[in-house]
Protein backbone atom coordinates (compact mmCIF):
# COMPACT_ATOMS: atom_id res chain seq x y z
CA UNK A 1 0.00 0.00 0.00
CA UNK A 2 1.64 3.20 -1.09
CA UNK A 3 0.89 6.48 0.59
CA UNK A 4 1.89 9.39 -1.53
CA UNK A 5 4.06 11.95 0.22
CA UNK A 6 4.21 9.53 3.12
CA UNK A 7 7.72 9.45 4.36
CA UNK A 8 8.88 12.96 3.64
CA UNK A 9 9.39 15.00 6.78
CA UNK A 10 6.65 15.77 9.24
CA UNK A 11 3.47 14.75 7.54
CA UNK A 12 1.19 16.96 9.57
CA UNK A 13 2.85 20.20 8.58
CA UNK A 14 3.27 18.97 4.99
CA UNK A 15 -0.46 18.57 4.55
CA UNK A 16 -1.63 21.63 6.43
CA UNK A 17 0.45 23.66 4.04
CA UNK A 18 -0.32 21.34 1.15
CA UNK A 19 1.36 22.53 -1.99
CA UNK A 20 1.64 26.07 -0.66
CA UNK A 21 5.05 27.67 -1.05
CA UNK A 22 5.57 30.88 0.93
CA UNK A 23 6.39 33.95 -1.09
CA UNK A 24 5.91 37.67 -1.30
CA UNK A 25 5.07 38.59 -4.87
CA UNK A 26 2.12 40.29 -6.52
CA UNK A 27 0.09 37.07 -6.77
CA UNK A 28 0.47 36.44 -3.03
CA UNK A 29 -1.07 39.80 -2.22
CA UNK A 30 -4.25 38.99 -4.10
CA UNK A 31 -7.41 38.01 -2.32
CA UNK A 32 -7.94 34.22 -2.51
CA UNK A 33 -11.43 34.85 -3.88
CA UNK A 34 -9.95 36.91 -6.69
CA UNK A 35 -7.39 34.20 -7.42
CA UNK A 36 -9.96 31.41 -7.42
CA UNK A 37 -12.31 33.36 -9.68
CA UNK A 38 -9.56 34.30 -12.12
CA UNK A 39 -8.30 30.70 -12.18
CA UNK A 40 -11.75 29.36 -13.05
CA UNK A 41 -12.33 32.10 -15.63
CA UNK A 42 -8.88 31.58 -17.13
CA UNK A 43 -9.64 27.89 -17.68
CA UNK A 44 -12.89 28.89 -19.36
CA UNK A 45 -11.04 31.47 -21.46
CA UNK A 46 -8.78 28.74 -22.83
CA UNK A 47 -11.85 27.42 -24.67
CA UNK A 48 -11.93 30.66 -26.65
CA UNK A 49 -8.57 29.90 -28.24
CA UNK A 50 -8.95 28.19 -31.60
CA UNK A 51 -6.07 29.28 -33.82
CA UNK A 52 -2.28 29.68 -33.50
CA UNK A 53 -2.46 33.40 -32.63
CA UNK A 54 -4.97 32.93 -29.81
CA UNK A 55 -3.00 29.99 -28.43
CA UNK A 56 0.14 32.13 -28.49
CA UNK A 57 -1.69 34.94 -26.67
CA UNK A 58 -3.07 32.73 -23.93
CA UNK A 59 0.27 30.96 -23.47
CA UNK A 60 1.93 34.36 -23.13
CA UNK A 61 -0.61 35.47 -20.50
CA UNK A 62 -0.20 32.21 -18.61
CA UNK A 63 3.56 32.70 -18.49
CA UNK A 64 3.07 36.29 -17.32
CA UNK A 65 1.01 34.93 -14.43
CA UNK A 66 3.74 32.40 -13.66
CA UNK A 67 6.39 35.12 -13.68
CA UNK A 68 4.18 37.27 -11.44
CA UNK A 69 4.30 34.54 -8.77
CA UNK A 70 8.07 35.05 -8.53
CA UNK A 71 8.60 31.32 -7.98
CA UNK A 72 11.18 29.05 -9.60
CA UNK A 73 10.31 27.22 -12.81
CA UNK A 74 10.94 23.90 -11.03
CA UNK A 75 7.78 24.42 -8.94
CA UNK A 76 5.65 24.48 -12.06
CA UNK A 77 7.54 21.67 -13.73
CA UNK A 78 6.76 19.57 -10.63
CA UNK A 79 3.08 20.33 -11.21
CA UNK A 80 3.18 19.12 -14.80
CA UNK A 81 5.68 16.25 -14.39
CA UNK A 82 3.37 13.57 -12.91
CA UNK A 83 0.92 14.09 -15.76
CA UNK A 84 3.30 14.55 -18.67
CA UNK A 85 3.05 10.89 -19.72
CA UNK A 86 -0.71 11.03 -19.70
CA UNK A 87 -0.74 14.28 -21.67
CA UNK A 88 1.58 12.82 -24.33
CA UNK A 89 -0.42 9.62 -24.56
CA UNK A 90 -3.71 11.48 -24.86
CA UNK A 91 -2.35 13.85 -27.49
CA UNK A 92 -0.99 10.87 -29.46
CA UNK A 93 -4.32 9.05 -29.37
CA UNK A 94 -6.03 12.21 -30.53
CA UNK A 95 -3.52 12.45 -33.34
CA UNK A 96 -4.55 9.04 -34.65
CA UNK A 97 -8.29 9.48 -34.28
CA UNK A 98 -8.82 12.99 -35.64
CA UNK A 99 -9.55 13.04 -39.31
CA UNK A 100 -9.77 15.85 -41.84
CA UNK A 101 -7.43 17.98 -43.89
CA UNK A 102 -4.42 16.55 -45.67
CA UNK A 103 -3.84 12.85 -44.88
CA UNK A 104 -0.18 11.91 -44.31
CA UNK A 105 -0.60 8.29 -43.27
CA UNK A 106 -3.51 5.88 -43.07
CA UNK A 107 -4.00 2.36 -41.70
CA UNK A 108 -7.27 0.68 -40.68
CA UNK A 109 -9.07 3.12 -38.32
CA UNK A 110 -5.91 5.11 -37.65
CA UNK A 111 -4.75 8.02 -39.73
CA UNK A 112 -2.47 10.99 -39.34
CA UNK A 113 -3.83 14.11 -40.95
CA UNK A 114 -2.88 17.76 -40.88
CA UNK A 115 -6.02 18.44 -38.85
CA UNK A 116 -5.04 15.72 -36.39
CA UNK A 117 -1.52 17.07 -35.92
CA UNK A 118 -2.84 20.57 -35.34
CA UNK A 119 -5.39 19.30 -32.86
CA UNK A 120 -2.90 17.16 -30.96
CA UNK A 121 -0.67 20.19 -30.50
CA UNK A 122 -3.59 22.33 -29.31
CA UNK A 123 -4.66 19.66 -26.83
CA UNK A 124 -1.14 19.40 -25.53
CA UNK A 125 -1.00 23.17 -24.99
CA UNK A 126 -4.44 23.25 -23.36
CA UNK A 127 -3.60 20.48 -20.94
CA UNK A 128 -0.34 22.12 -19.94
CA UNK A 129 -1.85 25.60 -19.55
CA UNK A 130 -4.73 24.38 -17.39
CA UNK A 131 -2.33 22.50 -15.12
CA UNK A 132 0.05 25.46 -14.95
CA UNK A 133 -2.62 28.00 -14.06
CA UNK A 134 -4.11 25.69 -11.42
CA UNK A 135 -0.62 25.27 -10.02
CA UNK A 136 -0.29 29.05 -9.76
CA UNK A 137 -3.45 29.01 -7.65
CA UNK A 138 -2.62 26.15 -5.28
CA UNK A 139 1.04 27.06 -4.86
CA UNK A 140 0.41 30.69 -3.89
CA UNK A 141 -2.65 30.21 -1.67
CA UNK A 142 -2.98 28.36 1.63
CA UNK A 143 -5.65 25.62 1.67
CA UNK A 144 -7.48 27.46 4.43
CA UNK A 145 -7.72 30.56 2.25
CA UNK A 146 -8.85 28.50 -0.75
CA UNK A 147 -11.55 26.94 1.43
CA UNK A 148 -12.70 30.41 2.56
CA UNK A 149 -12.81 31.52 -1.05
CA UNK A 150 -14.85 28.46 -2.02
CA UNK A 151 -17.25 29.16 0.82
CA UNK A 152 -17.69 32.69 -0.50
CA UNK A 153 -18.29 31.42 -4.03
CA UNK A 154 -20.96 29.02 -2.77
CA UNK A 155 -22.91 31.79 -1.05
CA UNK A 156 -25.22 32.62 -4.00
CA UNK A 157 -26.54 29.05 -3.78
CA UNK A 158 -28.52 30.24 -0.73
CA UNK A 159 -31.17 31.41 -3.17
CA UNK A 160 -31.79 27.77 -4.08
CA UNK A 161 -32.18 26.89 -0.38
CA UNK A 162 -28.81 25.11 -0.35
CA UNK A 163 -27.65 24.92 3.31
CA UNK A 164 -24.51 26.96 2.67
CA UNK A 165 -23.80 27.55 6.38
CA UNK A 166 -23.75 23.85 7.12
CA UNK A 167 -21.60 23.25 4.06
CA UNK A 168 -19.15 25.86 5.33
CA UNK A 169 -19.01 24.06 8.67
CA UNK A 170 -18.38 20.71 6.97
CA UNK A 171 -15.67 22.27 4.77
CA UNK A 172 -13.77 23.75 7.70
CA UNK A 173 -14.02 20.56 9.78
CA UNK A 174 -12.91 18.36 6.90
CA UNK A 175 -10.01 20.69 6.10
CA UNK A 176 -8.94 20.74 9.73
CA UNK A 177 -9.09 16.98 10.13
CA UNK A 178 -7.41 15.80 6.93
CA UNK A 179 -3.91 16.04 8.48
CA UNK A 180 -5.05 14.60 11.82
CA UNK A 181 -6.77 11.64 10.20
CA UNK A 182 -3.81 11.16 7.88
CA UNK A 183 -1.50 10.80 10.87
CA UNK A 184 -4.06 8.52 12.50
CA UNK A 185 -4.18 6.34 9.37
CA UNK A 186 -0.40 5.91 9.39
CA UNK A 187 -0.47 5.07 13.08
CA UNK A 188 -3.18 2.46 12.57
CA UNK A 189 -1.34 0.93 9.64
CA UNK A 190 1.87 0.70 11.65
CA UNK A 191 0.02 -0.74 14.62
CA UNK A 192 -1.55 -3.44 12.43
CA UNK A 193 1.80 -4.10 10.76
CA UNK A 194 3.45 -4.61 14.13
CA UNK A 195 0.95 -7.40 14.73
CA UNK A 196 1.71 -9.04 11.42
CA UNK A 197 -0.72 -7.41 8.98
CA UNK A 198 0.60 -7.29 5.43
CA UNK A 199 -0.90 -4.77 3.05
CA UNK A 200 1.22 -5.60 0.03
CA UNK A 201 0.87 -9.33 -0.21
CA UNK A 202 -1.63 -11.96 -1.14
CA UNK A 203 -4.36 -12.19 -3.73
CA UNK A 204 -7.04 -9.70 -4.50
CA UNK A 205 -9.53 -10.87 -1.90
CA UNK A 206 -6.84 -10.96 0.77
CA UNK A 207 -5.86 -7.39 -0.05
CA UNK A 208 -9.46 -6.24 -0.08
CA UNK A 209 -9.90 -7.81 3.32
CA UNK A 210 -6.77 -6.05 4.58
CA UNK A 211 -8.44 -2.68 4.08
CA UNK A 212 -11.05 -3.28 6.79
CA UNK A 213 -8.47 -3.43 9.64
CA UNK A 214 -7.35 0.08 8.64
CA UNK A 215 -10.70 1.52 7.85
CA UNK A 216 -12.69 0.39 10.85
CA UNK A 217 -10.39 1.86 13.55
CA UNK A 218 -10.25 5.03 11.46
CA UNK A 219 -14.02 5.05 11.20
CA UNK A 220 -14.53 4.54 14.93
CA UNK A 221 -11.93 7.19 15.70
CA UNK A 222 -13.79 9.65 13.45
CA UNK A 223 -17.10 8.80 15.04
CA UNK A 224 -15.75 9.37 18.54
CA UNK A 225 -14.05 12.59 17.50
CA UNK A 226 -17.29 13.81 15.92
CA UNK A 227 -19.21 13.20 19.13
CA UNK A 228 -16.53 14.84 21.29
CA UNK A 229 -16.08 17.79 18.97
CA UNK A 230 -19.78 18.50 18.67
CA UNK A 231 -20.15 18.33 22.45
CA UNK A 232 -17.27 20.79 22.79
CA UNK A 233 -18.81 23.09 20.18
CA UNK A 234 -22.20 23.06 21.86
CA UNK A 235 -20.74 23.71 25.29
CA UNK A 236 -18.99 26.74 23.83
CA UNK A 237 -22.27 28.15 22.68
CA UNK A 238 -22.54 26.90 19.11
CA UNK A 239 -26.22 26.98 18.20
CA UNK A 240 -26.11 26.71 14.45
CA UNK A 241 -24.50 29.03 11.95
CA UNK A 242 -27.10 31.82 12.00
CA UNK A 243 -26.24 35.04 13.83
CA UNK A 244 -22.51 34.44 14.09
CA UNK A 245 -19.65 36.81 13.32
CA UNK A 246 -16.57 36.03 11.26
CA UNK A 247 -13.05 36.11 12.71
CA UNK A 248 -11.19 35.26 9.50
CA UNK A 249 -12.21 38.00 7.07
CA UNK A 250 -11.09 38.22 3.46
CA UNK A 251 -10.24 41.63 2.03
CA UNK A 252 -10.22 42.68 -1.60
CA UNK A 253 -6.97 44.38 -2.59
CA UNK A 254 -5.90 46.61 -5.47
CA UNK A 255 -4.01 43.63 -6.91
CA UNK A 256 -7.33 41.94 -7.58
CA UNK A 257 -8.30 44.90 -9.74
CA UNK A 258 -5.01 44.60 -11.62
CA UNK A 259 -5.54 40.91 -12.29
CA UNK A 260 -9.13 41.55 -13.29
CA UNK A 261 -7.98 44.16 -15.83
CA UNK A 262 -5.35 41.67 -17.03
CA UNK A 263 -8.02 39.05 -17.48
CA UNK A 264 -10.40 41.38 -19.35
CA UNK A 265 -7.52 42.31 -21.65
CA UNK A 266 -6.87 38.62 -22.28
CA UNK A 267 -10.50 37.84 -23.12
CA UNK A 268 -10.67 40.95 -25.35
CA UNK A 269 -7.59 39.85 -27.30
CA UNK A 270 -8.90 36.30 -27.60
CA UNK A 271 -12.26 37.53 -28.90
CA UNK A 272 -10.56 39.75 -31.48
CA UNK A 273 -8.10 37.19 -32.80
CA UNK A 274 -10.09 33.95 -32.66
CA UNK A 275 -11.50 32.50 -35.85
CA UNK A 276 -15.23 33.03 -35.87
Amino acid sequence: MGLRKMCRGSLMSKIIIGRYIPGDSLVYKMDPRGKLLITILFILAIFLANNPITYAIITFFCFLAIIATGLKARVFWNGVKPLIGLIFFTSLLQLFFMTGGHVFWHWWIFSISSYGVENAIYIFIRFTLIILISTVMTVTTMPLEIADAMEWLLKPLKIFKVPVDKIALVISIALRFVPTLFDETLKIMNAQRSRGADFNDGGLIKRAKAIAPILIPLFIHSLETAIDLSTAMESRGYRGSAGRTKYRVLNWSKYDLISLAYFILLVGLLLIFRTH
Partner: protein
Protein backbone atom coordinates in the same frame (compact mmCIF):
# COMPACT_ATOMS: atom_id res chain seq x y z
CA UNK B 1 -28.65 1.79 11.51
CA UNK B 2 -26.12 1.94 14.29
CA UNK B 3 -24.32 5.14 13.35
CA UNK B 4 -27.65 6.95 13.18
CA UNK B 5 -28.44 5.96 16.73
CA UNK B 6 -24.99 6.91 17.96
CA UNK B 7 -25.14 10.40 16.45
CA UNK B 8 -28.11 11.98 18.12
CA UNK B 9 -27.97 15.64 17.18
CA UNK B 10 -27.88 17.46 13.89
CA UNK B 11 -24.54 19.02 14.81
CA UNK B 12 -23.03 15.60 15.50
CA UNK B 13 -24.19 14.48 12.07
CA UNK B 14 -22.60 17.48 10.40
CA UNK B 15 -19.31 17.13 12.27
CA UNK B 16 -19.22 13.44 11.41
CA UNK B 17 -19.91 14.31 7.78
CA UNK B 18 -16.86 16.57 7.92
CA UNK B 19 -14.80 13.70 9.32
CA UNK B 20 -15.97 11.26 6.65
CA UNK B 21 -15.21 13.83 3.96
CA UNK B 22 -11.70 14.10 5.42
CA UNK B 23 -11.53 10.30 5.39
CA UNK B 24 -12.52 10.20 1.72
CA UNK B 25 -9.78 12.70 0.87
CA UNK B 26 -7.17 10.60 2.68
CA UNK B 27 -8.43 7.36 1.13
CA UNK B 28 -8.19 9.06 -2.26
CA UNK B 29 -4.47 9.46 -1.65
CA UNK B 30 -4.01 5.77 -0.84
CA UNK B 31 -3.77 3.09 -3.48
CA UNK B 32 -3.15 -0.62 -3.38
CA UNK B 33 -2.44 -3.41 -5.84
CA UNK B 34 0.40 -4.33 -8.11
CA UNK B 35 2.21 -1.92 -10.41
CA UNK B 36 0.09 -2.97 -13.39
CA UNK B 37 -3.27 -2.44 -11.69
CA UNK B 38 -3.29 0.37 -9.16
CA UNK B 39 -6.54 0.90 -7.35
CA UNK B 40 -7.19 4.14 -5.54
CA UNK B 41 -9.37 3.91 -2.46
CA UNK B 42 -11.37 7.09 -3.08
CA UNK B 43 -14.43 5.03 -4.02
CA UNK B 44 -14.53 3.63 -0.46
CA UNK B 45 -15.08 7.21 0.72
CA UNK B 46 -17.90 7.65 -1.79
CA UNK B 47 -19.53 4.44 -0.60
CA UNK B 48 -19.27 5.55 3.03
CA UNK B 49 -20.77 8.96 2.21
CA UNK B 50 -23.70 7.40 0.39
CA UNK B 51 -24.21 4.60 2.89
CA UNK B 52 -24.06 6.81 6.00
CA UNK B 53 -25.54 10.14 4.93
CA UNK B 54 -27.99 9.35 2.16
CA UNK B 55 -28.52 10.98 -1.21
CA UNK B 56 -28.64 14.64 -0.11
CA UNK B 57 -25.76 15.02 2.33
CA UNK B 58 -23.79 12.25 0.69
CA UNK B 59 -23.86 14.16 -2.58
CA UNK B 60 -22.89 17.41 -0.87
CA UNK B 61 -20.11 15.62 1.01
CA UNK B 62 -18.78 14.25 -2.28
CA UNK B 63 -18.69 17.73 -3.78
CA UNK B 64 -16.91 19.16 -0.72
CA UNK B 65 -14.34 16.37 -0.76
CA UNK B 66 -13.41 17.23 -4.34
CA UNK B 67 -13.13 20.95 -3.54
CA UNK B 68 -10.95 20.40 -0.48
CA UNK B 69 -8.78 17.77 -2.13
CA UNK B 70 -8.02 20.23 -4.90
CA UNK B 71 -7.33 22.97 -2.36
CA UNK B 72 -4.84 20.78 -0.49
CA UNK B 73 -3.29 18.57 -3.12
CA UNK B 74 -4.00 20.62 -6.21
CA UNK B 75 -6.36 19.33 -8.84
CA UNK B 76 -4.64 16.98 -11.24
CA UNK B 77 -5.77 18.31 -14.55
CA UNK B 78 -6.97 21.68 -13.28
CA UNK B 79 -10.02 23.07 -11.56
CA UNK B 80 -13.10 22.04 -13.45
CA UNK B 81 -16.62 21.99 -12.09
CA UNK B 82 -17.38 18.80 -14.02
CA UNK B 83 -15.11 16.72 -11.82
CA UNK B 84 -16.85 18.14 -8.76
CA UNK B 85 -20.13 16.93 -10.25
CA UNK B 86 -18.50 13.54 -10.79
CA UNK B 87 -17.46 13.44 -7.15
CA UNK B 88 -21.07 14.23 -6.24
CA UNK B 89 -22.65 11.64 -8.52
CA UNK B 90 -20.75 8.67 -7.05
CA UNK B 91 -22.06 9.01 -3.46
CA UNK B 92 -25.53 9.78 -4.87
CA UNK B 93 -25.70 6.47 -6.74
CA UNK B 94 -24.28 4.54 -3.80
CA UNK B 95 -26.82 6.24 -1.51
CA UNK B 96 -29.75 5.28 -3.72
CA UNK B 97 -28.73 1.64 -3.47
CA UNK B 98 -27.24 1.35 0.01
CA UNK B 99 -28.64 4.07 2.32
CA UNK B 100 -30.77 2.62 5.13
CA UNK B 101 -30.75 -0.75 3.40
CA UNK B 102 -29.30 -4.08 4.50
CA UNK B 103 -25.94 -4.87 2.93
CA UNK B 104 -26.72 -7.19 0.03
CA UNK B 105 -24.38 -8.43 -2.64
CA UNK B 106 -26.69 -7.48 -5.50
CA UNK B 107 -26.94 -3.90 -4.23
CA UNK B 108 -23.17 -3.60 -4.19
CA UNK B 109 -22.81 -5.11 -7.67
CA UNK B 110 -25.56 -2.94 -9.16
CA UNK B 111 -24.35 0.32 -7.60
CA UNK B 112 -20.70 -0.30 -8.52
CA UNK B 113 -21.57 -1.12 -12.12
CA UNK B 114 -23.81 1.94 -12.37
CA UNK B 115 -21.11 4.19 -10.91
CA UNK B 116 -18.56 2.76 -13.33
CA UNK B 117 -20.77 3.26 -16.37
CA UNK B 118 -22.39 6.60 -15.50
CA UNK B 119 -19.63 8.29 -13.55
CA UNK B 120 -16.27 6.88 -14.59
CA UNK B 121 -16.95 6.01 -18.21
CA UNK B 122 -19.74 8.47 -18.97
CA UNK B 123 -19.26 11.70 -17.03
CA UNK B 124 -15.48 11.75 -16.66
CA UNK B 125 -14.97 11.02 -20.33
CA UNK B 126 -17.50 13.72 -21.16
CA UNK B 127 -15.65 16.28 -19.04
CA UNK B 128 -12.35 15.47 -20.71
CA UNK B 129 -14.14 15.78 -24.03
CA UNK B 130 -15.58 19.18 -23.11
CA UNK B 131 -12.54 20.47 -21.29
CA UNK B 132 -9.83 19.55 -23.73
CA UNK B 133 -11.85 19.06 -26.89
CA UNK B 134 -10.69 15.46 -27.04
CA UNK B 135 -12.14 12.93 -29.43
CA UNK B 136 -14.70 10.84 -27.53
CA UNK B 137 -13.83 7.49 -29.15
CA UNK B 138 -10.12 7.96 -28.60
CA UNK B 139 -10.82 8.70 -24.94
CA UNK B 140 -12.91 5.54 -24.59
CA UNK B 141 -10.11 3.47 -26.11
CA UNK B 142 -7.78 4.99 -23.56
CA UNK B 143 -10.05 4.55 -20.54
CA UNK B 144 -12.09 1.40 -21.12
CA UNK B 145 -9.43 -1.24 -20.27
CA UNK B 146 -9.02 0.12 -16.75
CA UNK B 147 -12.76 0.52 -16.21
CA UNK B 148 -13.34 -3.11 -17.23
CA UNK B 149 -11.10 -4.39 -14.42
CA UNK B 150 -11.69 -1.90 -11.61
CA UNK B 151 -15.37 -2.47 -10.72
CA UNK B 152 -14.87 -6.15 -9.84
CA UNK B 153 -12.09 -5.31 -7.43
CA UNK B 154 -14.10 -2.41 -6.04
CA UNK B 155 -17.09 -4.67 -5.36
CA UNK B 156 -14.98 -7.01 -3.25
CA UNK B 157 -13.56 -4.11 -1.24
CA UNK B 158 -16.97 -2.46 -0.80
CA UNK B 159 -18.46 -5.74 0.42
CA UNK B 160 -15.84 -6.22 3.12
CA UNK B 161 -15.93 -2.56 4.15
CA UNK B 162 -19.72 -2.39 4.45
CA UNK B 163 -19.84 -5.70 6.30
CA UNK B 164 -17.43 -4.25 8.82
CA UNK B 165 -18.93 -0.74 9.01
CA UNK B 166 -22.46 -2.03 9.56
CA UNK B 167 -21.20 -3.87 12.63
CA UNK B 168 -19.70 -0.80 14.27
CA UNK B 169 -21.15 0.00 17.67
CA UNK B 170 -19.59 2.44 20.07
CA UNK B 171 -19.63 1.65 23.76
CA UNK B 172 -18.91 4.71 25.84
Amino acid sequence: MNTRKILQTDLQQMVFLGMVVAMKIILGQISFGSTTVKIGLGFVGSVLLGYLFGPFWGTIGGGISDLIASAIFGNQGGFFIGFTLTAMAGPLIYALFLYNKPVKIWRIIASTILVTIIVNIGMNTLWLHIMYGLNFNALLVQRLPKEMIMPWIQMIVVYFVLQAVSRVKIKK
